[in-house]
Amino acid sequence: MRLLCLEGLTKRFSLQDLPALDNLSLQAGPGEIIALLGPSGSGKTTVLRLIAGFEKPDTGVVEIGGEIMANHKVFVPPEVRGVGMVFQEYALFPHLTVEDNIAFGLQQPDPLTRTQRVTGMLETVGLGPFARRYPHELSGGQQQRVALARALAPRPSVLLLDEPFSNLDTDLMAQMHQEVYTILRELGTTALFVTHDQEEAFMIADRVGILNQGRLEQFGGPEEIYHRPATRFVARFVGKADFLPGRVTAEGIETEVGYLPNTPKFPTGTRVEVMIRPDHIELIPDPMGSGMVLSRQFRGQDYLVAVQLPSGATIHSHQPSTLTFYPGHRAKVIARPTHVVAFLATKPWL
């Protein structure tokens, strides 16, 4: 069953500009957590606003729980869509206490039921003792939890989260990632969240959508996105990637770092660009090696080493922090990709 279904959504804010959202389609099943990942200005937030009902789509359909919320004829206003939303800056109501914030969206006329629901939510997010505090008396993490509890209290069919963790410091962010994940899983809530941080997306989401300039470039599981990016943009956005020119031969794809299996099944003779991630490059110290170390960047658990190939192209490799390459050293460069990703070399370079 599809709980959330977006079909062919297009939204333009002005006629001169490119569309903020271009023919986007996406589905989510019940209990699924979806991440929309993209750089700023890619249209992520517009998707949330269209689902929540703060914008009308120019074309396309928004369907929640089998009901059409927006299409060329119907437009259901946000307050009756049954969609929860958590904002980047939380948008807690400063004039209401924590419990009043959480009770804000509850429609039950019976005060007892309301109180029970509020208490339940407070327990879920672990804020029981803070019920009577005002938002400004809470820390950032606590405010975040109130925002979550407030959005979840009316039992929304879909929860939307707009960069929910970007206002937290690193330690707290990691903790909140875990907590939010646990809470969403526990309640079985379908959630769609927007972020520009691919680690966050991979960590929490069942499926990830990559947005670029209003287009959904790829939609799939985190591993699929990382290992089998559908476009150059996706390849670069979700991790470090180098592109090496290659030519398809009968033996495989011929590149400067050796032959790679032609798993994408390009016809022989095709000129392609092969994506290579630093994890997949092995360096063997060798004074006669074809690669020359240009620079190295210490990153704690490993080094990112840049190596220049004879053609002048630069390729990166992750090396354990114990091994030492210095600029000027030569090395043998071997590619050992787990999946071969290659694109047609239509454009000279991305």
Binding site: F87, F104, A151
Partner: protein, 574 residues
Amino acid sequence: MARSHVRSIPHRLRLLRSGAPRDLWPVAAGAVALVVATPILVVVSSILTPSLEVWSHLWETQLAELAWNTIALITGVGLGVVVVGTGLAWLVTMYRFPGRGIFEWLLILPLAMPAYVIGFVFLALFDYAGPVQSWLRQVFGPGVWFPDFASYGGVVLVMTLVLYPYVYLLARAAFLEQSETTLEAARALGASRFRAFWKVMIPLARPSIVAGVTLALMEALSDFGTVAIYGFDTFTVAIYRIWFGLFDRGAATELASVLLFFTLTLYLLERALRGRARFYQTDGKVRPPTPKRLTGWKAWTASGAASLVVGVALGLPVAQLLYWTVTALGGPDYDDRYPAFMFNTLTLGTISAILAVGAAVVVAYGLRLSRNRIVTTFGRIANMGYALPGSVIAVGVLAPLAFVDHGLDAFLQATWGISSGLVLTGSMVGLLFAYLVRFLAVSCQTVEASLIKVTPSMDMAARSLGASKGEVLWRVHLPLIRGGLCTAAILVFVDVIKEMPATLLLRPFGYETLAVRIWQLTSESLWEAAALPALTIVAAGILPVLFLARSSARPRVGEWDDGTGGEGKHSRMP
């Protein structure tokens, strides 16, 4: 378990389908704005049939001088209110000196003083025949020099003293909203305290200061009483001259449209100054600047400056009015209807304050929800009444009211042969309507400024939680901007009880107010007798202004108080 949490959508959808039209707010805002804009449009429409003969006469005689005087007036008053208002706001927010706590609210009080009253009092005191110059002549001989008080300088002085509180209120609120850290950052970069104020605080407070100056200048443009007493011919004076002297009301309203042109210029100027900056505050915690203690002569200079302004703008006129009340020919003007005059004045003030704030909320919220051109345009026009003299607005109000009345009567006569007579014309409705047209700008500016500080994500949060647009307003915005609403209501109240010309022309039969009483006496130059009603108006105005001052007291450090409004502890200024 998971599935049972999902709430039933179809149930909620049914609510919607049986429900009301969806985009009611912009429509309501547009409707309210249109109704308020109608009298202003009536005035402007007079331009379509220009009285060429009067214009060519004006062109040959006075027009250049009128334009020059009007520009000089708004320039002078503008500079005056900026310097006095901002300077005093800076003094009381940034420094500690003897009496600061009292001056902080005392400096708001001149708002309650009608300009025409202070204008006349000053002229009586400082003119050639007044006690000051007479005393100087007695002491230093008849040749002693004294500036001519009935002059440009006198007008600017009087208007500055009456109008600076707008800038003071807004600038002070803006300074208090600023964070100590901003100031500290500037100091750390090597700026002196004064330089930090000049380079950081003033630019940050600029939208508030500009809003205050705009209100002050619109009132200066519409003022007739003061400029008339001082013989300084502005466009407003010319309007009356043409209306009452040439008996050409058409030409007079045409001239009034020129005032709207000035307002439009001011408005565009404000927009240009504001640029594309937006002033949401997203961060929760703001620590207002800590005032620095002044010592020695500096402390006394600060106290002296504040006392001087309060003394001249409030103490002196009140003292003179008291003196006149006691010494007036045949005793003070008192009769047994005085309680009724007061009651009527306060009733009008209260009802119009409620109406003006209500209309402002509808218009401002509608503008927030929709950027529709038509709604925005009417919203802007509806805000221009503040620059029109009361009598001109009254004429603009009479025309549509009479039209409705006569239309209704004709219809009833034709249909059932009954006469409805006049239902609206000469009724309280007309008067309240005129006040609304005249003072909507005051409440609207205030409410809009408060609303702008509520982040749009508040709206979205509330709506996604199932609140309709109306509920969002009622449950989120109104509680958040309560302080701003209070300020708006009090400003309108004070303006209404001071208002004279529209009241005079539109008041219901037998409905006398204090301002009408003042007119009764001053029109026959019985100023001494008018001192008592004038004092009463000042007193009636001071009470709510005191309340305003109290509710706008400095928020305690550390207490939550951000740009999204507080629990009424710190009211938000326009």
